[in-house]
Each structure stands twice: as C-alpha cells, then as structure tokens.
C-alpha cells in the first residue's frame, strides 16, 4: 500500500519536474527576457518535486536509504547547508537574471554525494542512449559551457541525471 502511494508520488514528482524544466527552457526565448520571479518560483517547485522524488525513491529502494527524511520546508533551506561545489559554471548563457541555486542540505546519502562531486572530475564522454535522461525530459539537452561536465550517472541513473539537470538549471548566475 505504501509502495503504491510512493510510486504515485514518484510519478507525479517526475512529471512536475519535467513540466518545470520545459517551462524554464521555454522562458529563455520569451520576449522581455527571463522573468526573475517566475524563474524563482519554477526552481522552488522543481526543488520540491526533486525532494519528494528522492524521498519516495528511498521508500522504494532500500539500498539508497537515508537516515532522516528530508523536510519539505524548502523555504527553510539555508545557505549554510549548501553542498554544491561553487565552481560549477553557469549553464543558461543567455540568462539575464539568476535562478535560485540554494539546494539545501543533503547529507548522509551516497547517491547525493555523487551528485555533488566536482564536475571537473567527470569524464567528458557523452553517455550512450541507455544512460541518457528519462524519456519524459525534452529531447534537446542543455548546451554544455566550455569546461562544464555532465554529472556521471551512478547506479540510480535515471533519477540522478534528472536531479543533476535540475540542479544545473537552478544555478544560472546573473551576468552582473
């Protein structure tokens, strides 16, 4: 019973993540440029969905068990808990304004640590289709900046590359 609910939540979280990512892509070509307020709200929804997705996956997959469940309070995530390597490059090259990049604390999870590894240590080889992002993502992938790497997909491949993608999108930095 719990597994079914977790699966439904998982599916809903993935769907919302996919919708959010495509909205973020679409807003890049909007007249008037990126809207900071809208981008911030999109990234907050994405973060909520990603957190729920991970929590529900932990229920499904005991191998990636986390000691304490992550709180849903995305607004309380503090800069002090920032695990993301600061030298990651801005991804959205045309963005005028920044997105919220505050990802919150994700400790004690092996899969999360892999996500947080410095991108420069990853191989630049493009992965085959099997390891590509789940099929619900937009077909066009974000262009890599020079020096930026795609995150390596660990054993939970689909989930992590999805999360990594949403992380990178959150990290677009203002041009000034």
């Amino acid at each position: 019973m719990i597994a079914t609910t977790a699966m439904e939540v998982n599916a809903e979280a993935r769907r919302i993540l996919a919708v959010s990512i495509s909205k973020l892509y679409a807003s890049r070509s909007q007249r008037g440029g990126l809207r900071l307020h809208r981008s911030l709200l999109l990234s907050l929804v994405m973060r909520s969905a990603r957190d729920i997705y991970h929590s529900s996956r932990e229920i499904e997959m005991p191998c990636a068990a986390q000691p304490t469940p992550e709180p849903m309070e995305t607004s309380s995530s503090s800069p002090a808990g920032e695990q993301i390597v600061p030298e990651s490059q801005p991804e959205l090259q045309t963005s005028e304004e920044s997105e919220s990049g505050d990802e919150g604390c994700e400790e004690g999870d092996i899969t999360e640590d892999k996500e947080n590894m410095s991108p420069t240590k990853q191989s630049r080889k493009r992965r085959g289709k099997a390891a590509a992002a789940p099929d619900f993502l937009p077909i066009k992938r974000a262009r890599l900046e020079p020096g930026e790497e795609r995150h390596a997909a660990p054993h939970c491949r689909g989930a992590e590359s999805l999360s990594a993608l949403s992380l990178n999108l959150n990290r677009a930095i203002a041009a000034f």
């Binding site: 919708v19 007249r31 440029g33 900071l36 307020h37 911030l40 709200l41 990049g101 930095i173």
Partner: protein, 448 residues
C-alpha cells in the same frame, strides 16, 4: 444577496458600458494590462500590451437623466512606450504598460506616470480649446504674408476651436532598474514617487529624471542564495515617510524612510504562519503576493495571493484581520493550473471609496466583491451576454460539490483563459471598471 457595496447590502450592479473589440480573436497588443481611475474619478486610464494608454472621461451628469451617472468616452489615446532593445544584454524590452498612476491634480492639466519593465514616463495631458488668430505676419494657414501687403496692425485674439487633448511626455526616468519594474507609487507629498522591481525599490523626485535613490535592496551577494523577490510596493496614503512592499514568500514589510537611507531593515513585517496541512508542490507559488493596496484611510492594507484576499491591520503583524477566499480555482487541480501557467497569474485588488468593500478578479471573467461590514460576498460576471444597458448583474455561483444546482456553474466548465486581472473602483461613487482580456467593462450601482 443581490450585491455588495458602500455599506448597504442592497446595492445592485448594472452594466453601463463595454469598450474594446468584440471579436474573439484577440490581438496581443490589445490585451489590457492596467486600469486606474484618477483622484476625482472623472478620468479612467487603461494601458495595454502594445504600449498604448487610453484615457476615458466621464460625461457630466445630464439633467435629463439624473438616475444615470455620466458615461465614459475616449478622451485621449497615445503611445506611451515603444519596444526597445538592450544591446548589452541582447534582450528585448517589452512595451507593455505594467502600471499607471495618476498624480493629484494641481492645475488645469492632468499628469500620470506610466511604466513598462524598465522605463517610467511622466505624461502631461492638457486641453486646448482656443487658438490664436489674427497674426500680422502670418496667414491663417501659417504661410508668411508678403510684407508689402501689411498695412495695418492688429492684436491677435484667442478664438474657440474644437477641443483638442494633447499628451506630451514631460519626464523620462530610465536606466535605474536592472530587473523588471512591477510597481510605481506616488507619495502623498506629491513630490516623490517610488518604483519597484524584483529586487530593488528606488525613490525619485518627479522633477529630476537623471537621479534616483535606492531605498530597498534585497539582492543577495550570491544570487544562488536568492529566496524571494519583491512583487509589489506602495506608499502610505497619508504618511509620506511610510511604504510597504510585498514578497513572493507571502510577507509584507513596512518601512519608515526616516529610520535610515536604506530601508533594508523593515519597521514591521506582516506574515501569517503557513498551515502545514496545505503544503503541496505549489505552496510557494500560491502564497506569493501579487498585489498590495493600502485602504484610503491608511489604517489597513489588503494583499492578494492566488487563492485569497487578506486585510491586515497595520497595528498587527502576526496575522490578517480578515481573510476572504476568492475560490473558483481552489477546487481545480493545481498541477493542471501549473501546466497551463494559470497558477502564475497575478491578480490585483482594490478598495471602494470608503473602505467598506474590496474587489478582485478571478477566472471565467468572474470578479468578486467582499463587503467587510455585512460579511457578504458576491460573484459577478463581465460578459457581452449581460451587456444590455442598465441590465442588473445576476450573482453567479460556482458549485463545488458533486451536485450542481440550477444556475450554478461547475468548476470543470470554468474558462481559465478568461481572467480578470485588473479592476478599479471609482474613488467616490459606486462605479467600477473591470478589464477582461481585451475589453473594459464599466458597471454602475443601480440608482432608483
């Protein structure tokens, strides 16, 4: 109840006028983006996505029909903003008029501020109904006369002419906002005004356009740490040192400019604790405040978020004194509202003249009025079907449960593409202006 308004529970609203094209194919430039009465209510200004401002003027009350307040007719139309291109950032700047604010009238001319995403302009609207005639050196059509034919000397005189209304830009306030301007507000001192974008608020002097003071800056040093943006700002109606700004997190901060030059430290913070039971993926979007308006008295302020209208007493920061659910979309599936972008809609709200009733728009071209004194609310509809002159508006009901009563509309049949984002209430009378996508409806109180 039949209606809500002016402290009397028996107010009924009737259709007065509708402005705008009839056909369903809406040109994007014609989408109305702001509506504002001036301080006397005689003038009504609208701004649209095409950067135009249209001003309507109320006809004087006719003695033949004392039951009917004057109609609003076009007074002036002008192009306020044009599309621009920022070459440095390779971005187009939309010409859409985000806000219009009237200045209190000081002489024969009228002044208003209009703003798009980046530039604010002060417009002077003046009337000309006389023109000088009888020049000595020029003919009536402007050609210069042959000096040999000039044998007499006369004094030119002013003669009446057809009324001409001229709009001229008196000041252009530009290059002060990095982010998109969402609000402007004229101070009660009539000398200064503020403009707010997503992260900063600037204070301007109406006479000086090459300089502004930054009074609020919530931009974090590291933009990755951004958690909230400014969504609206307004000066207090009576206290020239006080203003408020609302945020995307659902908080309102009141600032006192006497405290310091940079008002990052708020004097008061108004926030209602979130109900943890209502938490969802979209809680942040729903709690984001889209509009904040002081009451005319200055004692209260009203905020609009996606689902409700809240009235706050400036003396109490912990929670609002009144909360009104707008409805119409709380039953709808939030994730489909997210997918079709409706959840990002920014609804405005307004007070009536004596602060007894508040109004806001919703979907399906419905708008809601909440009578604070009688604790009544009513849903009305702006549609061409109810547009017979002086026809009384019938209250609408949306059925929330499974069983739909007669005359009720089910949530599933609500048209979420027909939204009323902008409404305005005449400062003195029960006359309201309600903007659908590209039409402006004017409703008046039924007078017996």
């Amino acid at each position: 109840m039949a209606g809500a308004g002016g402290g009397n529970s028996d107010v009924q609203w009737c259709f007065s006028q509708v402005k705008g094209a009839i056909d369903d194919d809406v040109a994007e430039a014609d989408i109305i983006s702001t509506v504002e009465f001036n301080h006397s209510g005689e003038l009504l200004a609208t701004g649209d996505k095409g950067g135009r401002v249209v001003i309507f003027q109320q006809e004087p009350e006719s003695k033949n029909q004392p039951q009917c307040r004057g109609e609003y007719n076009v007074y002036s139309t002008f192009q306020s903003h044009e599309p621009e291109f920022d070459y440095l950032k390779s971005l187009e700047i939309e010409e859409k008029i985000n806000k219009i604010r009237w200045l209190p009238q000081k002489n024969a001319a009228q002044f208003l501020l209009s703003t798009n995403d980046k530039t604010i302009k002060l417009w002077k609207i003046s009337e000309r109904d006389k023109r000088p005639e009888g020049y000595n050196l020029k003919e009536e059509d402007g050609r210069y006369r042959d000096l040999n034919t000039v044998t007499t000397l006369r004094v030119p005189v002013f003669r009446p002419m057809d009324l001409m209304v001229e709009a001229s830009p008196r000041r252009v306030f530009s290059n002060a906002h990095t982010y998109h301007i969402n609000s402007i507000s004229v101070n009660s001192d009539c000398e200064t005004y503020l403009s707010a974008d997503d992260l900063r608020i600037n204070l301007w002097n109406l006479e000086i356009n090459d300089r502004s003071f930054n009074i609020v800056d919530i931009k974090p040093t590291n933009m990755e740490e951004l958690t909230e943006v400014i969504t609206a700002a307004e000066f207090h109606p009576n206290q020239c040192n006080t203003f408020v700004y609302s945020s995307s997190k659902g908080t309102i901060r009141l600032c006192d400019m006497r405290a310091s030059a940079l008002c990052d430290q708020h004097a008061k913070q108004f926030e209602e604790p979130e109900d943890p039971n209502n938490r969802s993926f979209f809680s942040e979007i729903i709690s984001s405040i889209s509009d904040v308006k002081f009451s005319h008295s200055g004692r209260y302020m009203m905020t609009r978020d996606y689902l409700s209208v809240k009235i706050w007493d400036l003396n109490m920061e912990s929670r609002p004194v009144e909360t009104y659910q707008v409805g119409n979309c709380c039953c709808a599936d939030k994730s489909s509202l997210y997918e079709n972008d409706c959840i990002f809609d920014k609804f405005e709200c307004c007070w009536n003249g004596n602060d007894s009733v508040v109004m806001t728009g919703s979907y399906n071209n419905f708008f809601r009025m909440f009578d604070r004194g009688y604790r009544q609310d009513v849903t009305l509809e702006a549609s061409r079907e109810n547009s017979k002159p002086r026809s009384v508006l019938k209250p609408r009901k949306v059925s929330t449960g499974g069983k739909r009563k007669k005359d009720e509309i089910s949530v599933d049949s609500l048209d979420f593409n027909k939204k009323i984002l902008h409404t305005a209430w005449h400062p003195l009378d029960n006359i309201i202006a309600v903007a659908t996508t590209n039409n402006l409806y004017i409703f008046q109180e039924k007078l017996n």
